[in-house]
Symmetry: C2
Subunit: 670 residues, 2 copies
Amino acid sequence: MVPTVSKVSVATKRLLLGRPFRSDSLGHTLLPKRIALPVFASDAMSSVAYAPQEIFLVLSVAGLSALAYTPWIAIAVAIVMAVVVASYRQNVHAYPSGGGDYEVATVNLGPTAGLTVGSALLVDYVLTVAVSISSAAENIGSAIPFVSEHRVSFCVAAIIILAAVNLRGLKESGSVLAIPTYAFIVGVLGMLIWGFTEIFILGREIRSETAGFEIRAEHTHLMGIAFVFLIARAFSSGCAALTGVEAISNGVPAFRKPKSRNAATTLLLLGLIAVVLLLGIVFLAERIGAKYVMNPAEDLIGAPPGYQQKAMIAQLAHAVFDTFPAGFYFVATVTALILMLAANTAFNGFPVLGSVLAQDRYLPRQLHTRGDRLAFSNGILFLAVAAIAFVVAFGGEVTSLIQLYIVGVFVSFTLSQTGMVRHWTRLLRTETDPKARRRMMQSRVINTVGLVMTATVLVVVLITKFTAGAWIAILAMVILFVLMKAIHHHYASVQRELERTPADDEAVLPSRTHSIVLVSTLHLATKRALLFARATRPDVLEAVTVNVDDRDTRRLVSEWEDSDLRVPLKVIASPYREITRPIIDYVRRVRRESPRDVITVFIPEYVVGHWWEQILHNQSALRLKTRLLFEPGVMVTSVPWQLTSSDRRKADLDYHAPGDTRRALGGGPT
Amino acid sequence: MVPTVSKVSVATKRLLLGRPFRSDSLGHTLLPKRIALPVFASDAMSSVAYAPQEIFLVLSVAGLSALAYTPWIAIAVAIVMAVVVASYRQNVHAYPSGGGDYEVATVNLGPTAGLTVGSALLVDYVLTVAVSISSAAENIGSAIPFVSEHRVSFCVAAIIILAAVNLRGLKESGSVLAIPTYAFIVGVLGMLIWGFTEIFILGREIRSETAGFEIRAEHTHLMGIAFVFLIARAFSSGCAALTGVEAISNGVPAFRKPKSRNAATTLLLLGLIAVVLLLGIVFLAERIGAKYVMNPAEDLIGAPPGYQQKAMIAQLAHAVFDTFPAGFYFVATVTALILMLAANTAFNGFPVLGSVLAQDRYLPRQLHTRGDRLAFSNGILFLAVAAIAFVVAFGGEVTSLIQLYIVGVFVSFTLSQTGMVRHWTRLLRTETDPKARRRMMQSRVINTVGLVMTATVLVVVLITKFTAGAWIAILAMVILFVLMKAIHHHYASVQRELERTPADDEAVLPSRTHSIVLVSTLHLATKRALLFARATRPDVLEAVTVNVDDRDTRRLVSEWEDSDLRVPLKVIASPYREITRPIIDYVRRVRRESPRDVITVFIPEYVVGHWWEQILHNQSALRLKTRLLFEPGVMVTSVPWQLTSSDRRKADLDYHAPGDTRRALGGGPT
């Protein structure tokens, strides 16, 4: 039941966690470029499934004529993509450890910038799941109307299934992941080639099913600022195509040698394919008159009643493969698949990022031990619940969710590029070799261009999307930031408290040990506790019972006298029929009488197999233990008695999941 | 913040818990009859606030003419009341320990009957709260229309306030409780006297505001079986007046000596007053033409639009005090007050009953230590949530809730009377003194009449109310019964497991002690754990750390070597970056090598002051502790380190509530 960590996340976390610990034994798992591309590309590739239609949607507000601008916007997005790819190729060379944007920002700009990136990425993972699953639902819905009618339920179910699969541990490998990604590339490229061949070579006329409809435009003659704003908004939405591009820079250590070089090549390849797909889809869509609007029932004039608007890729596939329905279904399927894969990537990446943030004490420390099932599970559950909340709140509408999405990505891009510029500037300060200096200068120029570009896009996104929903993402980021800052502050103050010079009495060995065994009934568990306590040979050993019920106490005392236990039994009065307070008072009295003793309180405890048994047992013991820990100079020892039912649970706890061996891959901290 | 137990509950639990433990010191708190009456009577008295109107409501189905039967039904209810009072006077004499119906049934009929009574009473407490608060809302709503319009919200708020007050601890005393009860008696009796005086002596004509309306009857000419059924149903509803009569039999030990005699007198007094009030209300209501129907808007012909139907007592007060509005408001206020008081009684009685059931191992054992704040709180919370659920589910309609209510009461009555008959038969078997025999025979006759009467009413109630809602109460009782039976079974099987003869190796003192101190960082908390562990002088002492993070581990090892700690530090590899499993494996290895050693694992633990700090610390330690307890031959010792923030919480834990001293009153178990 222990979740396994897939190769995707292994690769991701390699970057996040830095140089692998036992790299000698890891050699055979390193990824060749042909596998690394699909492993890291699903997120970035999948975004071409929704980015183009968002461009069409925004422009459709200004009517049919505005759609003529779609190719230009697509080209602008492609240029940004090219610049970002070029910039991240510099990251890949400079930070082959795989520290990702978080590392780049932390090292070069300080912890506050790093934490900002961390918050942005956490929100980003949640939105990746929400957007990808919603888009998958839309694409499946284009082929199967039933899914379209129950979109939110479908999304929630899909997220729950993904979470469950990840909680149980997913057996997957790079080559399995490769199939849907390549199928998507082949499917969409095939569709584009077929479509353009028919149009330009065979000279046939292909028409989208929406080609005959008019658009009821809100503003037909936009001018000046308003028009610029609209174009900027369409461009912002199109920039959703860039989400996921940074993933490869997080996975450098997973590449075969020469790692950085191979990673950079793969990144270039990813960029090329994404640009081709993006441009191809937008050009073809514009050519065949495809339309995509917010409210098809109102905004499309001429549509038959009850017309269900298809996702853009589905519209293209439907038009191109009008005589070959299998083609249409193939494209719809692989699109949905790659989107699911993108969501799954977030399920792998989120706990890993949590672990890195925990290592730096921004999140509860126990998340750091990533091997731990619970820590991992908590991350998955949190991600699933948050993503479901977003999907439900926005009705599974990709268009609404995308307003929140890209802000986080571009915050991360911008800070990372700023960090890279600083990085080169710092290196240039000490570097003297002119050849190296030239290379660095060149890299700095590229990253500066990247910074300017991503910062510009960030500003554009903020201006055009803030009121449309981006403020929600920003608010979430701010909340996470403040929360993590507070956690960090807390850990730091505890550390200060623990590292001060010990007071005199703290460094002295206690003079004697005084052991107290708590007794309620005289049965096997109590006897074991007494035997164990005796085995520790304390200076004083006594059994203590609280007189909650007079009849019970009298029976206990007489049984005690009849037994061969040579330990004195003390009865403590409890006028209020409490257990905790009389014992605390007694312990304090012992402490007062001999302040240099250390007191050990032995509590017999039942170990049970079911959660409901836990409710029926040990509650008083648990409360007492919690309270005793507040007394200085007192240790609390639990002496377990394993009831038969505990075997069941122990077997559960000892279960080794099939993926355990593969988890070794992630074993390396820096 | 520890809840105090009011005198009401002290008295109640005295009965339930039996003879007080330190009765010498309790003398001054014993209640004179004039205080005992109101303390125990609020529940029974308050039921005359809703029982009469239910009789009218049921009969109104058959139209105006059927209302002529109301006095006869009231007389029948009064006869049942007289018989039940006479029967319980026998209980009071036979079981002065205050064991209540639960004790009578358990002792005479066995644990299954006792548990049935226990389940019935638990459900009954919930319904007492729901019915009383709903009725209070209706009565206040008769004076303040706003409350009537928001009845459910008002009820929910009232229950939450009652729960909060009881959670914080209520400072109340018998004399304070006496005021609303006597005020209610005075108010209603005054109203009746004034009303009858005006009618019969002054010869004035008093007319209820509903007197002029016609009733739209569903069945105007009911005949035969159907008519008998209707009368029986009206009678069943009227029997709601009997709820709470058994309370005095639960409180005998709280009376001044001669306890049984005083209690019996008080019971008689209570019965008399209740009968007078019940008959008076019904006769007056019939005389002045008052009506009470299910849906006033539809069933009352001639009512002005938007007419708000008043509660029956409010109708009477309104008619009688038509020239003296203060009288109307006084009656409405004291009626609401005594109903609130009745609900409050349930909040006192429910945790006490829970404690008794826990003592007999039908509920989690920790509920037994009643002094314990948590156990008490859980009972109050459970009661509040269940009562709110009922109020919301039934829209705060007294009429609907009452269908569920009386079943539990009469199950308890019937079983208790059966037990009493057995009790006398058993005593008669050995008793030889003819005078005593005659008295017992007489008592047995009374209890037999009581049994026949209550059993008959139970059957009538079951027949007439089952489909109307009584099945819900029965279902709840069955579920509670099965649950408590299962809990009892579990405890019994655990006890068997713990009381078997110890195996050979269980009785042998472990030969040596092997202590393992878990270390993650070398700070004060770790050093204290090492000092304390050394103080116990184990045969083997070693420090162990898990290598989760290579860099951290290397730093720890070098610090360790530089320190003056003369304890060897072992580093355990953790390829999966876990903590728990490597330690378990290590402990098992040690066990295998020397199976007769007892192993003590010392875990340094932070003690913190806020719940959120608890999340940030100790989580790995907690999980490890839980897991280690499954290993036989291993003790787990927590060595606390109190962080500064823990002072805050400790102060909380040490807080003595003002009512603490009074809690001593309840200190007596049997």
